[in-house]
């Protein structure tokens, strides 16, 4: 245990003093503040007497100068932070000749992986929580509408999910750092995978869905819904889709289920105004997405663990 804590504290200190991390956090803070500022400027549009969750709207409204909402920015930056925290976890220790020195000390090998992962997780949690609290506080001052209890709970859930999402990318990067000898290789592999899952997965999903259920403008509603169902199923392979859906459900309670089918039904069934879901129901909807994210994280972590435990540690 002592070995684990020693590694944890050292890694934590390393993260917070590394230039890489400081630059990334500054970037994220700036982006966060800018998006919330624009959102607060534009929040009046579309707000009526009956609008609920005004405070949460702060997080989803985007303006014309910055056409992205805060969660979108976060979904862009969290993987980068996760990768930055993990891509050189093991291989930099190996190439610098520190690994054989550390592992000849009386500690279990898993302490090294655990300590590094834990330190990354805490760093990530501090970063995500601080940025959300910062922009929430800023928004509170700007719009002057205090959040309700449920909105606060939803924000906490949002923070939690974002940390899990970052943990997934970090554990993936750690996995690559165990498998690839060079830090450049592991960094590029992580970023390539991120770009693939973030940008191309939805394109591929769209193409496959179009091939299976071709639709055009005259297609029946049923067909469109079927196509959308296939599209969503395939794109859920990508953790960024899972995260996007989760955030959507958490921050837009009136949207309900992220599936198009239900939305269409509610729209066509007499133009009902969608009623916001209670928090419990929202959590129930995102439960599969959330567990998938956690499972993927655990999978990557286990992979790096198994490989690292049996590895031969040479100094050259």
């Amino acid at each position: 245990m002592s070995g684990l804590m020693a590694i944890f504290w050292k890694e934590l200190a390393d993260h917070f003093s590394s230039k890489r991390f400081i630059i990334l956090s500054l970037l994220i803070y700036m982006a966060g503040v800018a998006t919330i500022y624009v959102a607060a400027q534009n929040i009046r549009s579309g707000v009526t007497e009956t609008t609920q969750f005004i405070f949460l709207r702060l997080f989803i409204v985007s303006g014309e100068t910055i056409p992205f909402s805060f969660p979108f920015f976060l979904s862009l930056f969290i993987p980068i932070v996760g990768i930055a925290l993990g891509f050189d976890a093991i291989n930099s220790e190996r190439t610098s000749g520190n690994l054989s020195r550390i592992l000849s000390q009386p500690l279990y090998r898993d302490s090294v992986v655990n300590g590094k992962f834990l330190a990354g997780l805490v760093t990530l949690a501090i970063l995500v929580a601080s940025i959300v609290v910062l922009v929430a506080g800023m928004g509170l001052r700007m719009i002057g509408v205090p959040p309700t209890a449920e909105e606060i709970l939803r924000l906490f859930a949002f923070i939690f999910v974002s940390i899990i999402y970052g943990a997934f990318w970090m554990s993936l990067a750690v996995l690559f750092s165990v498998f690839f000898g060079r830090t450049a290789t592991s960094a590029l592999a992580s970023i390539a995978l991120w770009i693939f899952l973030f940008l191309f997965m939805s394109m591929i999903a769209g193409a496959i869905a179009g091939a299976i259920v071709p639709i055009d403008q005259n297609s029946s509603l049923e067909l469109v819904a079927h196509n959308d169902e296939i599209y969503r199923t395939i794109s859920r392979i990508s953790p960024s889709t899972l995260y996007g859906e989760t955030v959507q459900v958490l921050l837009m309670p009136e949207l309900g289920n992220p599936s198009l089918t239900l939305m269409l039904i509610s729209m066509y069934a007499g133009g009902m105004i969608p009623t916001p879901l209670p928090l419990g129901q929202s959590l129930l909807i995102i439960w599969p997405q959330l567990t998938s994210l956690i499972a993927l994280t655990a999978l990557c972590f286990a992979g790096s663990y198994i490989r690292f435990m049996r590895e031969e540690i040479r100094s050259t």
Partner: protein, 330 residues
């Protein structure tokens, strides 16, 4: 390893223990490490006793580092057994690592941390109490001659300084056994001298030391015993003198005597000394082969005869000669 294999090697181990009696600090029994078809270490049997400085010699790729890694539990043996102070490095790695120190060939430190911070980290990993740590670190840095650099970042250190810091790093947990993999590689002669002096001082404190090196002269100077490893086999083992006699002198002592006027009578009377096997004379030099060190007897014989003794020396074998002989024969 299959269950059967493990059991059979346990049996072998038990037998070995009986015949060896007292346990060495480091013992290996038929230690094998194979990478696929390539056998890096082949049935290595080794024994190092307390307080020894054991020199581990051999060309690159002979399996020196692999053996050290197996002894430290940093890689698993394919078969055979290793013990350090009676602990199995594969099954009880923590017990072994608590009492062993290891200076890898390419030692690295956290370049952004100072020398003291690097040592503090290792002390923390060893769970040493804080007050002991700071005192010990200043003592050790003093010992390796780096006390002035204690607050400087390791990134600014020269190779020799890093190597000395590595020795302090090994010493911080008071190891019973210390492994040095090429500790003198790539440092200047003065640095080599410093490193070797520190290592010799360690051995005086009853630390058992295993040293792998190519610098034969240095090894010869400080090692009590050497083992020569070639293609995974231990081809020779013993003290440098003993190895020299066995490999080059055919197990004999060779004594060179210079006398003023060598006579055939003198040669004859030397031949009559018990233990002398052969005498050759060339000019005023007599080359005497004998079973043991007979210098006193030879001196008396010369003085008793009419000749005058100019000088007498016993031939010493350099590790260079021994080493070259082994690798030329192959």
């Amino acid at each position: 390893m299959s269950l059967l294999g493990w059991r059979s090697c346990l049996c072998v181990w038990a037998d070995g223990e009986n015949s060896m009696g007292e346990r060495g600090v480091i013992e290996t029994k038929d230690l094998v490490k194979a990478y696929g078809k390539f056998i890096a270490v082949d049935k290595l049997n080794l024994r190092v006793d307390e307080g020894e400085i054991f020199g581990f010699l051999g060309p690159n790729g002979a399996g020196k580092t692999t053996t050290i890694l197996m002894l430290l539990g940093l890689t698993e043996p394919t078969s055979g057994a290793a013990r350090i102070c009676g602990f199995d490095p594969t099954r009880e790695p923590l017990k072994v690592k608590r009492i062993t120190g290891y200076l890898p060939e390419k030692v690295g430190f956290y370049e952004d941390l100072t020398a003291t911070e690097n040592l503090e980290y290792i002390a923390a990993l060893n769970n040493l109490p804080r007050d002991v740590t700071s005192r010990k670190i200043s003592e050790l840095l003093d010992m390796v001659g780096l006390s002035e650099m204690s607050g400087k970042k390791v990134g600014t250190f020269s190779h020799g300084m890093k190597q000395r810091l590595g020795i302090a790093d090994v010493m911080i947990k008071d190891p019973k056994v210390a492994f040095f993999d090429e500790p003198t590689a790539g440092i200047d002669p003065e640095g080599i001298d410093q490193v070797l002096t520190i290592i010799t001082n360690m051995a005086k404190q009853k630390v058992t030391i295993v040293l792998s090196s190519h610098q034969l002269h240095q090894v010869q100077k400080i090692c009590t015993r050497v083992g020569i490893l070639s293609k995974g086999h231990l081809v020779a083992e013993g003290s440098v003198d003993q190895l020299g006699r066995e490999t080059i002198g055919g197990g004999k002592f060779r004594i060179e005597v210079q006398v003023s006027e060598p006579t055939s009578k003198l040669v004859k009377s030397i031949k009559n000394i018990k233990g002398v096997t052969n005498v050759e004379s060339s000019g005023d030099l007599l080359l005497i082969c004998c079973d043991k060190d007979l210098r006193p007897q030879i001196a008396r014989t010369v003085v008793d005869s009419d000749s005058l003794l100019v000088q007498m020396k016993i031939e010493e074998y350099g590790l260079d000669d021994i080493y070259m002989k082994y690798f030329r024969e192959q």
